[in-house]
Symmetry: C2
Subunit: 475 residues, 2 copies
Amino acid sequence: MSARILVVDDILPNVKLLEAKLTHEYYEVLTAMSGQEALDKVEAESPDMVLLDVMMPGMDGFEVCSRIKQNPATAHIPVVMVTALTDSQDKVRGLESGADDFLSKPINDTALMARVRSLVRLKMSTDEWRVRENTASQLGVVEETSTVLAQSAEKANVLIIEDQEFELKKMRETLSADHDTVMGVSSGSEAIELVKQHDFELLIVSLNLKGEDGLRLCSHLKSNERTRSIPLVMVASSDDMDRIAHGLEIGAHDYMMRPIERNELLARVRTQIRRKRFQEKLRATYEISLSMALTDSLTGLYNRRYLEVHLEKLLEKNIETKKTLAVLMIDIDHFKSVNDTYGHKAGDEVLKVFAERLKDNLRSFDLVSRLGGEEFVAILPDVSEERAHMVSERLRRAIADTPFPVSVQPEPLEITTSIGAALISQDADSVHAALERADKMLYDAKEGGRNCVVFEEKGKLDPEEFKGQIRPVIN
Amino acid sequence: MSARILVVDDILPNVKLLEAKLTHEYYEVLTAMSGQEALDKVEAESPDMVLLDVMMPGMDGFEVCSRIKQNPATAHIPVVMVTALTDSQDKVRGLESGADDFLSKPINDTALMARVRSLVRLKMSTDEWRVRENTASQLGVVEETSTVLAQSAEKANVLIIEDQEFELKKMRETLSADHDTVMGVSSGSEAIELVKQHDFELLIVSLNLKGEDGLRLCSHLKSNERTRSIPLVMVASSDDMDRIAHGLEIGAHDYMMRPIERNELLARVRTQIRRKRFQEKLRATYEISLSMALTDSLTGLYNRRYLEVHLEKLLEKNIETKKTLAVLMIDIDHFKSVNDTYGHKAGDEVLKVFAERLKDNLRSFDLVSRLGGEEFVAILPDVSEERAHMVSERLRRAIADTPFPVSVQPEPLEITTSIGAALISQDADSVHAALERADKMLYDAKEGGRNCVVFEEKGKLDPEEFKGQIRPVIN
């Protein structure tokens, strides 16, 4: 993918050299010659990547990187630090300030291009999700926009594939300080078995395995549905640069050169874990918005939209299985007077507790939804008529027997509910007709004095009939 | 990216040759030696791409491709046809059956690998969206899962960048049969200006421009935010294969060799347009679910969730601008008796029309939401007290003056509304307090006989006061 890359260095020939290399590969290049100019251009131009010199007069590269990564508007832009320093402390400092990688001068062209391609690809795959999460957060669907650095980098599950026993032991010990489960295996086949059983958040693969090609294993893990999205860090010798570049093309996210430095290992792993969790967070926003589209914001119950789509499906299934399905229309008695007397806040509190009690007294696969106002519907798949009677009565008592706490006054409120119920058996009419029938029964329940259940055919139920069969309500 | 590729050919040495080439590049390879075996493996293994021989005994490649593309479960998998035929009619037939590209034997390795990488990348970027659209459609958030082939491939806006006048004219004429706007320019700089002003759905770029590098233009278009997601088809000579491969790396979606064959041009353009529209559809599902999370399914008005997030924002803005904001609590009078007497269906019809009339009588930037049941809130930013009075009264009359049609009986129903109103000026209290105050006024309006507006401080309004100021309500 083509991309716009910002090159930052205070020495003009260095800028020109990188510019020429990148332009030759058809990247668009922007340049900056100081830390401040870099920050301004990052903000104004939103490049796809920053190649950032560490040693600059005034604001140095660490500071620039850390500012880019702390600004929510620019935190998603990959930063690669470029330096003549080879001290591992500097490397770690760069990674800790949020850099995505560290390249040493003189820059190896293969390493540079492989890294640029890999980071641009990762950024593109996240960008669209990020933009949409922004929208979702502006609309109030999710609380706030997240950034990579805001993610936890600890307590991950990590798998290391390394057949040099001592190396494996050292990596496991190092990572165990930060992480929950750090497993190690010495071959690809063992790894392939393990990833089927565990949910790993990071894979570390040695490219120097004896008797097998580590790259082949990377390729397998990256082309397999289950493991494709797990970040993969390669471990290799310094003369493996071509294979490392190939590994990045295949989809590995990062690499480390032997000998592995303890703090660099910790820092790189943290970076990958954060990035993975950030991606998951972005994608979760979609699921949140989906679930919001189908639930009532006050009670968390399903809404009418969901009810309508799913009742039809339940009914189809019921016809197949020749089971009976019960529809209960549930309405809070005199709810308007709760709002009028105690205020809307108290009314909302009652609705929430009411919803809770309905859920607590139904099975997990029963469908409860709020139609709006004080009206609820419960759909009970696969119940006998007797069972449906018993459940309705249990719901009625769960409401009437325990007063509802409200915050406006110390005394809880006495609340009752009326329930109208209809059964749909396999030879039944349409969903809408069944709802209408249950609704008519509800009307009868209201006319019949409220705080009661009216069943189609059976008529108003006698609570005495259910004595002893009803389990105590726990609130 | 690594990927799993299914190679289909009835001749074993052909299968082995392709397998070896792809395995060398670290792809995972599956093989099939007949059309039926290919279909079975596509369904069971869900590969990332299919390389499909055309000439096979029994079911030929066209048929296999067309079945893959017509099955919603496999339609997203890219198919590249491989053939010894060079007849352009066969090429077009392959593209029309849904193939993503056509490679001629003997296969050029550069062309093969560039194409595989490009299609795998495109597939990956769509896959995540596709999976989520599936979820959304199962949950009933969108009607049904879409496929590439179901998208319209006509009436697109296309831009051609080509400096050979005769070639440009021919392409424009050909494409004008299918498409709405087919523009042509002869240089990159003109193109860069035009894409700023128009929304193109496809760009066709000549790699043989005089005086400039067409690849540089591709790179610019692909790294620019505004044009990045527009599909780009390169036009080149047959000796340009290396540059074409580079173009695919940069992000171009397809290419055509000169001389350009009319039907091939039409077919390739159709494929790209369909794919672009499919991608847009997948992404639109996210927006639909976001908007559903914030709206009431019956009336389409904003829901309580949206109201709560945005009222706070409106209030902050109002304090900055020192304007007055009005809060109207709107409730349908005796709504319960509509449901009880005419049924829920009639009740829903009334709610819908009621919501329509509220919207019709408010400004586009006023915020109307349904709290649930028969309760609505309207927030009017930046209004004078007099204006707020007038609007409230206009709403009341919009409801009372025209009876509501219902489908259960020929006579429309007389419906009235009560409105309680409060003003928030810049020194005001909290959002919740203002809502409570408006709610108290609503209570007074109900107590005061309904079908009226009660304003904080001013008390119950005299409709006579507004005579002549109120514009006729159009329904």
